[in-house]
Symmetry: C2
């Protein structure tokens, strides 16, 4: 073997990633070329994949712990919105030449935290060197009882539209991290910290999985902005729909800022990175879902309704007039 | 929506990738946030992931058709070596800003060809923009009857070591593509083309899947070089082993070159990209596997044996002396 002063691929796997797979049946301590899953009887497997790139999905100055946490969070968030319980994930890691061990240790820490928070473990992966930015590509697998996966395209005319949690915190937090100033005095230091934290550590709605499965006709996670994601949900379902801007739930921090600078509402509903769940339910299920969410300690807000296909898709202001949005959501291209 | 002169993410998916998912049950025409697989009764799911980067795993001048074909091939190759039948795959694509549509069309074509050759279809994916090199990250899923996955770590003392096909063609083909000259007159134009093609279009051993499952105690695909991969197989299995260099199967083209430049044998067994299957079988199963391979039209060669752990791992020359290898296999770090 050539003498190499830097860490080998085998060492990277053994030192940083095998510990993350220690509890995974079917990961074989990452000593095989593939992982095995044995879905429990009566369960289907939901698979989703999302890529996270340095400088694109996170600030290049971002701590590796946060990068890794977010990479798993965004994948698990997709599973939650499909009603699937997270089980395992595969990680493809493209690393700069001679990666710093401190950086790798940060990635390991972030994944370890995320695994614990989300209830899934590492199944396998691949590690390569890239001349480009560090890239984490994760595929997550979850289980759902046969036939119970919830789709983006299941919305029907007359459905109520709900969203969990609050919208816009992450987008506003990112603005702050990028140097935007909230209007003087409109945000306390705690509120600034809260908004930044919502960008830094997205929290997929694990507690909502069963509720989504039980009640939602259609669901998706809000990752690219509420406005654009609502548009996508309606388009996929072949329906129209409207959201009342006044009903879109905002945190105290976001509301403080928006009160002083109303144009920030636009950032809030188009900025993305919320990782809340947007869902529709039949009108007669609205009481049930509100009760179920209350019992699970999840805030959920009715924000609009699904209309016929020819009604179009709109966000309405308090006078019932459609908002003009220069761009409905984040797009990579 | 902002007016954009270039292609949108939605258009990329609809135009280039949805056709690849048209036949996939559970892909929902790529209109959902995740894909669904319903493993047939009695089947386990094998998951593997591999990344392919422009300029690292393929020449930057490489045709997109070849890049895409190889990206799927290397994943399917892992499934073959585990005894799993390829079913579906997810594709994460990191693209340069404003990708050329001709390039995307080439990616689509290469994947379409590979799908047909390997018998699997697209289940889902993600598309992002990168300031770095184009990156294809694929996760492939295959099915294997419960409990029959074949592992890298199953080799036992006394096993015979086999490898399918011929070794070193791709490594020598890459050398040629990089401008190396074969010794004058040692290779015909057809032989040069053959070696390059083996690098350009790896052929995972689909026809060997059932045979691996039925007979192999341990198996892995040869992707990083026979020498290093044999070392990994022995290490994972906790055994020693030896390969007889003289028994390593080479193509006519590779043999012609090696005859004139014997040092090219070193490239052949350490270069990688063979995508053949390295496997071990119990001594009493050797006739069976040779018969099964002959019936399936697969060349398979006995190249060595598995020894006790304290015997070490070696490649022996014709006098029984261990070869000195400066580097046993390709490593990214």
């Amino acid at each position: 073997m050539a003498d190499k002063s830097h860490i080998s691929e085998t060492d990277i796997i053994a030192r940083y990633f095998a510990p993350l797979a220690a509890e995974t049946p079917g990961a074989f301590s990452l000593r095989d070329d593939a992982g095995l899953i044995q879905p429990p009887d009566g369960m289907d497997v939901v698979l989703t994949t999302d890529v996270i790139l340095s400088g694109v999905h996170f600030l290049e100055s971002g701590a590796p712990q946060d990068v890794a946490y977010k990479a798993l969070a965004v994948n698990v968030s997709d599973l939650c919105a499909k009603g699937a319980d997270p089980a395992v994930y595969l990680l493809s890691l493209a690393l700069p030449d001679n990666p710093e061990e401190r950086w790798l240790e940060g990635i390991r820490e972030g994944l370890a935290e995320a695994q614990t928070d989300f209830g899934c473990t590492l199944l396998g992966g691949d590690t390569v060197r890239t001349p480009g930015p560090a890239t984490l590509s994760i595929t997550a697998a979850g289980y759902v009882p046969k036939g119970q996966m919830v789709h983006r395209f299941g919305a029907g005319e007359g459905d109520m539209v709900y969203v969990t949690g609050t919208i816009g915190d992450a987008a506003l937090g990112l603005l702050l991290s990028q140097g935007a100033n909230a209007a003087k005095g409109s945000l306390s230091a705690d509120q600034v910290a809260f908004l930044r934290e919502r960008y830094r550590r997205p929290q997929p709605r694990i507690a909502a999985i069963e509720i989504v499965r039980a009640h939602a006709n259609a669901a998706m996670d809000v990752s690219d902005g509420l406005a654009g994601d609502f548009f996508k949900l309606c388009a996929a379902s072949g329906v129209g729909g409207s959201i009342d801007a006044a009903k879109v739930p905002t945190s105290e921090a976001a509301a403080s800022w928006i009160t002083v600078q109303p144009e920030r509402f636009h950032n809030a509903i188009t900025g993305g990175d919320d990782y809340e769940i947007l869902l529709t339910v039949s009108r007669n299920a609205s009481a049930d879902i509100e009760t179920a969410c209350a019992q699970a300690g999840i805030d959920v807000s009715p924000i609009g309704r699904i209309l016929s296909a020819d009604s179009g898709v709109e966000i309405l202001d308090e006078n019932g007039n459609p908002l003009e949005l220069s761009q409905k959501s984040f797009s990579h291209f």
